[in-house]
Symmetry: C2
Subunit: 307 residues, 2 copies
């Protein structure tokens, strides 16, 4: 690949994330082309030294690496296909990095469309908020051809300083990872909502509840449970067994009932514990209810869990 | 309170948590009395220099501070009440610390029973696993009379090195905090189960999925969302709005459907987003769906959220 001075990068889509990405690429000394559906949004970046393209096709005609940062599956297909689309102008061996949160199914389709043109598609959805984008500190999951990923790493590092998770060859995988990240963050946010509501109704001051989160999210035990679930190793030397965990879950539900706070995650977990016990995991570590997700998905139980 | 040499502490209940607590109190130079329903379990601690009591009453007759570490509400009431119960032998101004995970309602009742005898009840449920108990590194939530809590702090620190969260005067509050902690940990475990099942079926290697958790749980953004939810400040300068969040939630459900993985937390969050939008929060930050828990609990919406 050409040196930084000769490499031209395009950013397609200048929402708050795309704008942050573009600014950081420009700041790092790359030649930059920008495109946005509403062209007025390109002004600040053009004033700062970028070129502007009229269409995704025009951007593709000039660039080696294109980063699209849009809203959903449809908006990505929209700028890729058609008369003025990116694939109509793209040059052999160019690379399109898709930074939008899209479905893994779409990533598989987009890869095929690009391969038919002899060009490269890389999944690179980003995680973060507008302020982290502006600071060049987004996180990203990258998947696709590893030799192509090697060629784009320095460009991606402009906007994801230190936060790349290489997710392998299958372009669908980075999308699964991004959705998993959102699922994880959304679950934590929902849990915050449930716990603040519960504690507020019990009149526990919010600064005390806050200490709980500060303590738990830096605790190594939180990651240790990830390993138990990952490896399906629910050994339990002297700890609380799944059967005992049921007591605590019922206490949580009862504590919510007492003050009128529904705790829907607890209902889910309750049923997962019942499922776990019904499937022979009652004497395993209490965290064994995590297996319910695999059981419900038809993933076969590990032999050792039945012993 | 008497000096360490003259202070006698009892531990009632020698499961793996109680044993760890007792060992660490003994190790720190306190005189220790132990009691357990199955008396054989006291042997190792007696060999190490503890005294053993026949009944909770006998333990109470000898001790200044009693720590009970049992299974549930019923087992705590059981050792407190009756002819051979702790309250039958307790001495004026003694302190009973209840380390069991019990309901906040039980803590309120137990406080009353102790007050009638002119003695002190402190809620001190502990968080951790047998190995952390053995290491003296449990976490605890303490609530009750603050002057009494001051008198027991050095004893509690024997088994909860550096991990005390003072939860105020109301003895119910430490129990609410402990159940909140369990709710938090259980939610994370369930989420691990869901994400590993989803990624396994998409054939994402588990070591890549693991990197996601290592990254997220050390990320300051996770705690930043706690503050947004705590303060109900869902401002959103350029970020994804709740309305936009709905797209990602539907993507998650679809990504699960594609490979046959039910994601029950996502169903819950989906409904919370719909509730949030229906209550005028659609243009707020996407994390505003956490408000659903308060809305569903009859907690009045903040004026500013409607603006």
């Amino acid at each position: 690949m050409a040196s930084k001075e000769n490499l031209i990068v395009a950013v397609l889509g200048l929402g708050s994330m795309g704008t942050g990405i573009a600014e950081n690429i420009l700041k790092n000394g790359y030649k930059l082309v920008v495109w946005n559906r509403t062209q007025s949004k390109t002004k600040a970046l053009v004033d700062a030294g970028s070129m502007s393209a009229e269409t995704p096709r025009e951007a593709a005609q000039q660039c080696d690496i294109m980063i699209s940062c849009l809203f959903d599956d449809a908006s990505v297909f929209d700028i890729v296909q058609g008369e003025n689309g990116l694939l109509a102008g793209i040059r052999k061996d160019s690379i399109h990095i898709s930074a939008t949160t899209i479905s893994p199914m779409a990533a598989t389709q987009l890869t095929k469309l690009h391969q038919e043109k002899g060009v490269h598609y890389i999944s690179g959805p980003v995680l973060g908020r507008p302020d982290t984008a502006a600071a060049g500190k987004l996180r990203t999951f990258l998947s696709g051809s590893q030799s192509v990923i090697d060629r784009i790493t320095t460009v991606v590092e402009c906007y994801c300083g230190g936060g790349l998770i290489n997710s392998g060859e299958d372009p669908a995988h980075a999308c699964v990872m991004k959705l998993s990240a959102n699922l994880c963050v959304a679950s934590i946010i929902d849990m915050y909502g449930q716990i603040y509501a519960l504690n507020e109704k019990w009149k526990v001051p919010t600064d005390i509840t806050k200490q709980l989160f500060s303590m738990l999210f830096t605790h190594p035990g939180i990651l240790a449970y990830s390993e138990k679930v990952r490896n399906r190793e629910y050994t339990n030397p002297g700890g609380v067994a799944l059967r005992g965990g049921l007591k605590d879950i019922n206490l949580m539900l009862h504590t919510g009932e007492e003050v009128g706070v529904p705790l829907p995650f607890v209902n889910v977990i309750h049923d997962h514990i019942v499922t776990g016990i019904a499937n022979g995991l009652g004497d395993k570590d209490w965290s064994a209810f995590a297996e319910s997700a695999r059981l419900n998905s038809g993933i076969q139980q590990k032999e050792s869990n039945n012993s």
